[in-house]
Amino acid sequence: MLEIRELCCERGERLLFDQFNLVCGPGDIIEIRGANGSGKSTLLRILAGLAQDYSGTVSWRESAKQASSEVSPIEFRRLSLYLGHASAVNASLTPLENLMWLTELTTPVDESRAIAALQQMQLGECEDVFCHHLSAGQQRRVALARLLTVDARLWILDEPFTALDSAGVDLLHQLIQHQVRDGGVVVLTTHLPLTGLAGVKVVQL
């Protein structure tokens, strides 16, 4: 269960959000919505534990009732998956090498599962092309393949649909649906209408 209390963050003399509260539990899809520059990415980075200059608390509890079940930062990193504007795909590695590394940062994985994930992302043909030869959408798919290999409870996705073609968008919709059906939580931003997803809770920033 993710709990955000009285989050407040300012950047360059502009208050991005103030007294921001949010509680979400298993099965929630939260869409953070806002205009360009309203602070969505900043919020997601704070959730993921990357940004530090904010006030307020962000916590993840195993159970909603016990206050003591709050997990430690390292445990939280194992439970969460952050995918930002930069896709963390190294240009001189192949998709498989990138995927293996990115996955193993939080979850041990064997190669066959990674290969299957790439195939599901329609990257079967490009398995051993260096990533700087890939198109923008294909690079994004490499980054997204991690959703299939990592066992995270909380997904934090910053504009994950960028550069994807319509087949890719559909696929990602399915993945998200699957994740929440399994009791996971998805927090995402996007400027697209999320018509393909059921039960999205929109939070305006």
Binding site: A51, G84, H85, A91, S92
Partner: protein, 225 residues
């Protein structure tokens, strides 16, 4: 244990990348050889004079080669977002960074040490100093990598970080330079050098233990907001 998987993954990627990228470690060696050659040209080929200078020249060159290699250590990962993912790994960053630094230290030190006897002989150093030259490089270069990594972490966000890195890091390189050059000179002149090597080793051990702390802090602060 999960920690081991992560460390192994980090190491595997490190080696893969260093193989892929125009054999970066080999380039360090070429740099080493070329700059020593430039000295021979710039100073004039008076062998006797060069022989006396050789330990100092070789060591200053090695130091620059290390600085150049280290500059790229985190820069690319920062640009493509891999660094943020590393910071979000489910393991103590101290050990992850330590693993990377050790891998880099190995990749940089060994080729330099291997090629150094050739250079030393070209510059006319006395043969008695050769084994100690190799040893001093194997002990000293890793220390330089560790110290340099601190600077690299602090300057990773800057467009033209290379020279800033030099300013931050080169003053800190002085102790290594002094003891390493002194060890080689002593050995070449037939004197005892164990003391200097011990001090180099002590510096190495200290650097291994402490520099990851500073590197982690340095990397984190680039993601301060």
């Amino acid at each position: 244990m999960a920690g081991k998987t992560i460390i192994k993954a980090v190491l595997r990627r490190e080696f893969l990348l260093s193989v892929r990228n125009a054999s970066a470690s080999l380039n360090g060696v070429w740099f080493f050889v070329l700059v020593c050659g430039l000295f021979a040209i710039g100073i004039g080929p008076d062998k006797e004079q060069l022989g006396g200078l050789a330990p100092g020249l070789i060591w200053v060159t090695a130091l620059l080669a290390v600085m150049l290699s280290v500059d790229a250590l985190f820069r690319h990962d920062y640009a493509d977002g891999s660094l943020e993912q590393l910071l979000l790994a489910a393991h103590s960053l101290y050990f992850l960074v330590l693993a990377r630094l050790m891998a880099q230290a190995l990749l940089i030190a060994v080729p330099l040490a291997l090629v150094s006897p050739l250079l030393a002989l070209m510059l006319g150093m006395k043969a008695a100093g050769l084994p100690v030259l190799i040893l001093s490089l194997l002990l000293g270069v890793p220390t330089l990598v560790m110290i340099g990594a601190i600077g690299a972490a602090l300057t990773v966000g800057f467009e033209r970080g290379g020279l800033l890195l030099a300013l931050l890091v080169l003053p800190l390189y002085v102790p290594v330079l002094i003891f390493a050059a002194a060890a080689v000179v002593s050995a070449a002149d037939g004197y005892t050098y164990a003391g200097q090597l011990m001090i180099l080793a002590a510096q190495f051990v200290l650097a291994v233990a402490l520099s990851p702390l500073a590197v982690v802090a340095g990397l984190r602060l680039n993601y301060y907001h």
